[in-house]
Symmetry: C4
Subunit: 265 residues, 4 copies
């Protein structure tokens, strides 16, 4: 909920931008069925795991139209259905005119897709166990092999490097560009006093990273109580980056089955 | 449950006061339907989130009769229905004669409404993660933007500043006045060895504050394990106070839907 | 499960004692219906709260026959029904001949009823958050008013003061007498490497104490992370001991309703 | 999920080995019904307790054919049914030709059965509270009598003692032999940056050990916050090893009833 405050002035300015934005007719009205299915499932799975609550959002770049991404309307992720998914261009303008129920922080998605051509999915969340690392000098580092994407430690973006006064939400292009710079080539960036952004080559990879980041954070905090922590070594991190996961969809299928059970919760 | 002990003497004295109290006919028998609906939902949502258990209570000032507030009869919040909501005046006397199933600590509500004309809703709870901060010199401080209402740290009320010997419940006007003084202009005050009181301009804001305070407390305790904690800055706190929340009802609707599902639990 | 190991030799010796024990015909076949109902509910409530798992047991002294107590047969508390409740004398022999499904540690109950005429109910549990305090020099102390029964700190019984070699279960009269001595006039005693015993003037008070002890332990551990902890003062502890609880049955009714919902789980 | 990465090269090499492996006709197509029932229940119980998630596996040595063991096909343990159980020889080759849905880390099972003739069941898991101890110099030690099998501290296997570069999964015979050596005569070994392996004389004992290890780890971490921890003494550990558990199936029956309720989850 930390992304929930903006001035009335900002709000109408933003709305104005949306209404007057150019649309791109070449993007279809609905995404590829498989991508649509994964995007809905991702919203539900992340809610089921407590990574998303009433706020936060996940998007997927269109595989055929790289200048567009798919995202739900502004709503609780736990309630997202296929008909709630809309297309935006990389300036975060909705393709279909008249769409007004939009996430204000969607600027995060467009700027990261611009900065990272390899990225096919973006998630912004307030995952509870990540918050302590957002506000600490202790880096979030990999405890287990599946968390190797955290590398030598997740970077932390401090919005004060862009605006010295303001709330902590990513509402402007300048802020989102700063965030994308802090992300750099990483798979996850933490936002001081706010939450996290995870990226990846697919919706499923981003979901996996977000769920692993949450459990890794818990385990790292617990390990800290026991004394010095032994993280993955540099060679283990490097090795993991060269490899493909063996059977990642085993978790996806289980998570999806559980999350869709309470369908329409 | 820390508010559950009083001498038999106190008990009958209190009861006596209630029976002989003057009532105000101008207050309607039931509150505005929207307020009533929110007040019932608030009881259920706070129970669903573990902020309230068998004890604790939330009230709302009547928007047309500022000298009265609405609160449930003495009962577990998880079981409150619309017919359980009654009116009290600011001396905490029930409007309808003969009401005897009343919270003993309701004196908290009247005294805070007297001291804080801006306050439209009051909650007293024993939210589990707040208790450690009630008994510590470490202040509860905002980890994320949505917790900016905690300011530079929530104040702690020590009942010994009023009564040197006694239990820790707020049973007398003097104690409640002391509590209201400790609250001052804040949105939340902690009670040593007891719990918390949250206030706000609406039922929904108070519910939001209570739920955020609970998660913020957990995250602050975890962050403490990692080393020095970076809280919101003074300018971020100030900025947040000037702003309106963007879409606070998104969380309310989700919380209500989930809480009312187990209706009559 | 820490009470689950004994030599085959001990086992048959114990069984032999049971079979040859004198019974007392004056005790009825079933307890008072209200007590029976509370004892079944207590088993379910404590399981529902995680205070009891597959092991542990709660008993109630018969209000008319003080030399006898009621307890379930050896079984998971979550599955106890009225027909599972049997009577034992204070030497822990079942009143009805032929009963063989008995808790081995029931000797705890008899010895405490002998040593403490004021005690009407006894619980032995392995409540998860109490275990750290069983194995620490840090005393479990009251964080809130409802935990005042913990006084200046719960005593810890070390079975090595009785037997230098052995497992950690209370299987002999000597061990149970040692435990009763360590309990002294307190409401709760911790057992090193094992669990806890709570006592009280009624089943409901013992259930309340056990549930409060568990949450108090969690909160005290959390508070320890924040720095020095301010516990209840001596005068607050003394005051609480002189008082009757105001509305303790409000919690009991809510807990019972929730626990019996999954009846026969 | 930390065991989920291998190169395509390794993958096909492994597959090749499987297809060409000799099978043993003397092993029946399905295991003894009681063993089969316990193995399915074990998968469900461990999932229900969070010891297993989408990954991890438990096997049982055939009581009549000691050179073979039973294990599920590669799938989430929560979804295992009787028809998913297959036989492998101790070189981890499936008895029935054509089986290809196999756990890549099953080499753990064969090598431990070879090294430990007393072992009748093997579990590999990523139990969440064990991970901090995998990456720490603080040993996991018994807090309560039922955890006495942890002895003076669970050993930790560091895969770097076998391969200096690689991921953290146990994919080769050399790695599995190294793991078996680190396990030695113990009941549980931790794997740095990865998880744990528990062994025992029966499926039920292994399940018990895994569930107790998880809760013991939580309690040891909490106790560490309170100051120096008093673990079981050497004589208590020795005593526990000589004894048979009194009523271990009481927990098994309760766990099974709860886990099978959500059957086919």
């Amino acid at each position: 909920m930390s992304a929930e405050q903006m001035s009335a002035e900002q709000m109408s300015a933003d709305m104005g931008t949306i209404v007057s934005s150019p649309t791109t007719p070449s993007v279809p009205d609905t995404p590829d069925p498989a991508l649509l299915d994964d995007l809905v499932a991702a919203n539900r799975i992340l809610s089921d795991h407590g990574v998303l609550d009433a706020y936060g959002h996940i998007s997927a770049r269109d595989p055929l139209h790289h200048q567009h991404y798919w995202i739900s309307r502004s709503m609780p992720p736990a309630q997202v259905n296929a008909t709630d998914i809309i297309a935006c261009d990389l300036d975060n303008n909705p393709v279909r005119p008249g769409e007004t129920r939009l996430f204000f922080e969607r600027v995060i998605h467009g700027e990261i897709y611009k900065a990272r051509p390899d990225v096919m999915a973006v998630l912004h969340d307030h995952s509870p166990s990540l918050i302590p690392f957002c506000n600490s000098d202790t880096r979030l580092r990999p405890m287990v092999g599946s968390a190797a994407f955290l590398g030598e430690g997740a970077p932390v973006f401090d919005i004060r490097t862009i605006d010295d006064e303001g709330d902590l939400n990513i509402c402007t292009v300048a802020q989102a560009k700063g965030l994308a710079r802090a992300l750099g080539p990483h798979g996850l960036v933490l936002l001081r006093g706010h939450g996290a952004v995870a990226v990846g080559e697919s919706i499923r990879q981003v979901v996996r990273r977000a769920i692993i980041a949450e459990s890794n954070a818990k385990q790292q905090m617990q390990a800290t109580m026991l004394g010095p922590v032994h993280f993955l070594t540099a060679s283990e991190i490097a090795y993991a980056k060269r490899m493909q996961p063996k059977d990642p969809d085993r978790a996806w299928r289980l998570w999806k089955q559980r999350a869709m059970r309470g369908s329409g919760q």
